[in-house]
Amino acid sequence: MSKFQKTRAGINLSKMMKANYMQQAEDVKQGKFAVWVGIIVPIEILRGFDIVIGVPENYSAMSSAKGLSREQCEKAEAMGYSMDLCSYARIDIGNNLGPEPDTAIPPLPKPDLLISNNSNCTLLLKWFDVYRHEYNIPHYILDIPFGYEAQKKQDTQYICDQFHDMIATLESMTGQKFNISKVEEAMDNSYEALKHWKRFLRAGESKPAGITAFDSFVQMAPYINMRGTKDLVDHFKILADETEERQRSGIFPMPDESFRLLWDNIAPWHQLRKMSARLAGLKANIVCGTYTNCLGNSEGSADIYPYNGSSPIEFLARIQNFPICAYGLDLRYKVLKELIERYQIDGVVFASNRSCKVYSIMQMDQERKLRDELGIPCVSIDVDHADVRKYNDANAFVRIEALLENIEASRKN
């Protein structure tokens, strides 16, 4: 997979994402109600309506991975959006509100309603609010208390109350009646898909690892916008089955793997191929990423939160803090420690991401504690998840190479 040969899962991913996008565009043309949501908004609940769901963050990541971020960011900056703002937001705003939309990846169909939440980051609310002004449409905010500790019952109840209010809002705006059995079906699909996803990630535990974290960065895309669908279940099953088959056949992305690394932050989408190839040259494999491991977990856990098939609304409320950005330093340390042990990690790369303060502003303390308490070598590199102009390959690799030397030295000792 690291040599970028298209696997069955890779081919299916492109096909499925494209088909989903085309279908959405067609549905909007036919007059279907369209909603834009933040990535943590529980879209399984929205499956209780016959509506189109667009996810701007996914769009921005894809745009960056295809090398289109510079132009879109510059369009937003020309409109007055500061270069210090999140690059996902600048790409999306540049493409939607800029002079000419991108033709390589057309913008998402225009929404009738915006739904954001502050679980992952609060700036998402501000970003979506730009569209509230510009398109003059409502913006529904889901308020998720930050996880300094395990979610309290009163927090779960508060989130449930908001979900019910959001459902009532959607009923009123769409004129449709909410269908809970569709949500139950969607939740079953999401949970089934997650189990395959975790099976896929577990391939990283073997030595050599059956995957690189770059594979997981690419493959997580449909989890963001296709949760709750049968297509997602089928896709993650193909992905996990194929990965396990390859392992059984002795096919590994980096058979001569010498260094097993953990990546902490969002992927630098504009560097996936380049960084992956360069790391392969150093025999360094990023076998696990905190970003892709957290799907379906509860705060502070490295494992999927169990779903017993009842009360999907309550379950979805309970896992609203699943992204690692939605919880604090103590819980993040717990997860990192667990992943380091489980994946037999030699060193940790903290990607200090200028566009994601909520992920990054904790890393300095985290790094110090991991080094002091576990004695594990760590390094911090400067990245921006989507703005290629804020990344310097030479600087990043000087530091990564120093980390590898450090690991080597600690082995000799």
């Binding site: 609060t122 913006h139 905010i141 908001q162 330093l329 909520v358 502003i361 300095m364």
Partner: protein, 368 residues
């Protein structure tokens, strides 16, 4: 920052515990009613950019507000504060309580750190109100346990009366500043001093200044402007404004007008009081439940005060402010009001000369 820290250390001379709060709109009345002295850790100037302690914990692409809080708590105030309180506002600040806890622990210090989630849904009604009530009750319990104090309604009512008095006096002084009956830079200094003073001292300070006769050296012919931002303009920036012939007649500064524009009635019920306080608060970019009403309120202020120009003083890396600026700029310009955006950090004096030309050009534009 040394002065700021010295003021807080001065409060330790009393027998009351001192609790450092951030960001700007903490439940001060509640702390006061329970025998604590709250101080607001906001807008501290940094000593010529020396943030050595903060740089060990917070990246340089965080805003100066967050970096300065970290520096202050982990260096100058590490022996002083008896507790910290924060509520959710932005992504940087929500990470700070644990960073500060870990940082203090590294120094062998442990103080209670209270964290409250302020609903981004309407705190005045329905489930938002219910949740706010629960969080305030939880905070009361935590304070009682941490400091062996007891909450009761009567002292709370008295505290809300005191804070109401303080806010009314602040607003009175603000009106004088808007009419140039007190220099605007002095008014800003006073509001900054209020952060580190007990409410009783704040009232004395405000009454003193209200009784003084001041004159402003800004001529009436100067162009009236509105300033906006999460931190007030620095003294250097204010000099540039007055030197260029600009007169601030109204502000949308978080620590100033946004803090005092709405003054809740006194109450013995914390739930009723804070529900009213947050629901009707002047819209601030840091209060997430209010973002839909900010533009309307700003436009109303512009119309009421007949300003000719609007100056946004951006604190670098403050995403909550910067996201709204392009739309706000367009809306303001559509009203025929000129708009200027400046970018600075707390304590930043390096870029003043670069701003001079822009401010002078802006003033000429207004004069014409």
């Amino acid at each position: 920052m040394e002065d700021f820290a010295a003021e807080i250390k001065g409060l330790k001379n009393s027998t009351k515990k001192v609790i450092g709060c951030f960001p700007l709109y903490p439940p001060l009345e509640l702390f006061h009613s329970m025998g604590l002295t709250p101080v607001v850790l906001w807008g501290m100037p940094d000593p010529e950019g020396q943030l050595a302690e903060s740089d060990q914990h917070v990246q340089n692409y965080a805003c100066s507000v967050g970096r300065n809080i970290t520096q202050l708590v982990l260096s100058d105030l590490s022996d002083t504060l008896d507790g910290l309180f924060m509520y959710n506002a932005c992504d940087t600040l929500r990470n700070l309580p644990e960073i500060l806890t870990w940082g203090l622990e590294e120094k062998g210090k442990a103080i209670p750190v209270f964290k409250m989630h302020l609903p981004a849904s309407n705190p005045g009604d329905g489930f938002g109100r219910d949740y706010l009530d629960k969080r305030i009750s939880m905070l009361i319990q935590e304070l009682e346990m941490a400091y062996d104090v007891t909450f009761s309604e009567k002292p709370f009512l008295e505290s809300t009366e005191l804070y109401r008095k303080m806010r009314l006096l602040t607003r009175e002084l603000e009106k004088k500043a808007q009419k140039a009956q007190i220099p605007f830079d002095l008014f800003i200094n006073i509001t900054q001093e209020q952060h580190t003073a007990s409410v009783e001292d704040q009232i004395r300070l405000l009454e003193h200044h209200l009784n003084e006769q001041y004159s402003s050296d800004v001529p009436d012919s100067a162009s009236p402007v509105m300033v906006s931002g999460i931190t007030p303009p620095s003294p250097e920036l204010l000099k540039l404004f007055s030197g260029a012939g600009l007169r601030i007649v109204v502000d949308d500064i978080a620590a100033m007008h946004r803090s005092n524009a709405y003054i809740p009635e006194a109450s013995g019920s914390p739930g009723d009081y804070y529900s009213d306080f947050f629901q009707n608060h002047f819209p601030c970019t840091t209060l997430l439940h209010q973002q839909h009403s900010r533009f309307d309120v700003i436009m109303k202020l512009i119309e009421e005060t007949s300003v000719r120009g609007f100056i946004f003083i951006g604190t670098k890396f403050c995403e909550h402010e910067y996201f709204e600026i392009p739309s706000l700029e367009r809306a303001i310009k559509e009203k025929g009001i000129h708009f200027l955006a400046l970018e600075t950090s707390v304590g930043d004096t390096d870029n003043i000369n670069a701003m001079r030309t822009r401010i002078e050009a802006f003033s000429e534009l207004l004069a014409n």
